[in-house]
């Protein structure tokens, strides 16, 4: 499933190109709003970074199941014998790969636009981003499946997803703030534990409920 999704995306480049231009536009607006105020920038940088990740991620995740609507492939997935949680895991793996690519680009552009040296904090920053992205993608993939057949899916998807993501958003922004301020990760261990717990719960919830969602 992940192989198929990535192959389709590599050939169509629809989602990746859209997300890249969207991220660029977002960063340009942030840069325009905060350019002169370096002090304020350092305080809001973690929030801005995750705002960019969440907005671009939601655009990408919302499209995860659109490819299955074409030619009724959704019905094919439904008719495929076997455990449907494998389809969820495949979709999740594909979503994660796409999100990591977009996040890497956003991170590089962030460093460039705001003249921030991320090199010294890169390993802990990557860890925090990875933890946040897994939870985000786990729920995003599930809700994308849930809303894929709905007429108002563009509206429903963020409305349903964002409240569920509150623990992940709080944890990632707080942990990212600590990393960017060069504080030891032990200082935010409780937020990291929250992120790990949210990741486990969200992935397990996805595995357990995906079959029911797919069956409608």
């Amino acid at each position: 499933m992940a192989w198929k999704d990535l192959l389709v995306e590599r050939r169509s480049k629809e989602t990746l190109n859209s997300l890249l231009f969207f991220s660029l536009a977002l960063l340009f607006v942030f840069q325009f709003a905060l350019d002169a105020d370096r002090e304020r920038l350092s305080a809001v940088l973690p929030g801005l970074l995750w705002l960019a990740f969440i907005l671009s991620g939601m655009l990408g995740l919302g499209r995860v199941f659109l490819v299955e609507r074409e030619n009724d492939c959704w019905e094919g997935l439904l008719l495929a014998p076997g455990d449907k949680s494998a389809i969820y895991l495949g979709k999740l793996a594909g979503s994660l790969a796409l999100m990591f690519v977009v996040e890497a680009m956003v991170l590089a552009l962030f460093a460039l636009f705001f003249n921030v040296d991320l090199a010294p904090v890169l390993p802990p920053l990557i860890m925090v981003i990875a933890l946040g992205t897994v939870g985000f993608a786990a729920m995003g993939t599930l809700f994308a499946a849930l809303t894929a057949q709905a007429r108002a899916r563009e509206l429903l998807f963020p409305v349903l997803l964002l409240p569920v993501l509150v623990p992940v958003l709080l944890g990632t922004v707080k942990a990212t703030e600590a990393v960017l301020l060069h504080e030891p990760l032990a200082e935010v261990a409780h937020w990291l534990k929250l992120l790990v717990a949210a990741d486990v719960i969200y992935v397990v919830a996805g595995l357990l409920t995906f079959d029911f969602i797919l069956e409608g």
Partner: protein
């Protein structure tokens, strides 16, 4: 002892909102038999196929495939059936071979190069194996969809307008394939609007009208004009 039909539908009712699309449908299809399901638009042909295909739950009544209830034992029914409906269930940005590989892998079927090449050769698409489905004609997509379904060697084929978008050569090819499927003991239900030579594959004609099977008769020596006459007599289009 009379063998139980491969497909058995009893008292099937399906309601959408205030509309009763199916209103007590009974239908049996034996192994090695093909039934052509005729009826006007909205008569419930696709709904009936979707219920047997486990894609839709009936409001009342039962549909079974090889004794397995389509609503309660969907996982037991799915390996037995092949479905080609209006959507061909193919990814436009994958090649023909990649599509077959994906669906075979997902269904736990052999996906080695030889198996896939043979499946493509069976539908006369081996020359287009590495071409993206986006470049295919409607008829080629339908043939590839049949190759996809054939990988699982189903005992039951459910086809919605199988001859649509096929040229004369492809129609002839499909007729031969379906005859072969029947000869191998498969049960076939095809929903169609056509009264032409495509019905030659069918052993029985079932006309769906008013939510019920208005006529279920052996095709015998009925020609297109006879079928047309029966159709008009048993559907609202004739009233």
């Amino acid at each position: 002892m009379v063998a139980e039909p491969l497909i058995r539908v009893r008292g099937l009712v399906r309601v959408f909102g205030a509309t009763r699309v199916l209103d007590g449908v009974d239908l049996d299809v034996a192994a090695g038999e093909a039934v052509a399901l005729l009826g006007p638009n909205g008569a419930g042909k696709t709904t009936l196929l979707k219920i047997v295909a486990t894609l839709l739950r009936p409001t009342r009544g039962t549909a079974t495939v090889a004794g397995h209830d389509c609503a309660r034992e969907a996982e037991a029914v799915r390996p037995l059936i092949g479905v080609v409906a209006h959507g061909v269930q193919l990814y436009e940005d994958l090649t023909a071979r990649e599509n077959l590989k994906f669906w075979a892998t997902l269904s736990g079927l052999p996906a080695d190069a030889d198996t896939l090449s043979q499946a493509l050769a069976d539908v006369d698409l081996e020359r287009h194996a590495e071409a993206r489905v986006r470049t295919f004609s409607a008829g080629m997509k339908r043939r590839l969809a049949l190759a996809r379904v054939g990988l699982a060697r189903p005992r039951v084929l459910l086809l919605d307008e199988p001859f649509a978008a096929l040229d004369a050569r492809a129609r002839k090819w499909l007729e031969a394939r379906l005859e072969g499927f029947k000869a191998g003991g498969g049960a076939l239900v095809m929903a169609t609007h056509s009264f032409g030579r495509e019905l030659g594959v069918a052993d029985r004609l079932a006309i769906l009208a008013g939510g019920r099977i208005a006529l279920d008769t052996p095709r015998g020596a009925l020609g297109p004009d006879d079928v047309q006459r029966l159709y008009v007599a048993h559907t609202e289009e004739g009233s």
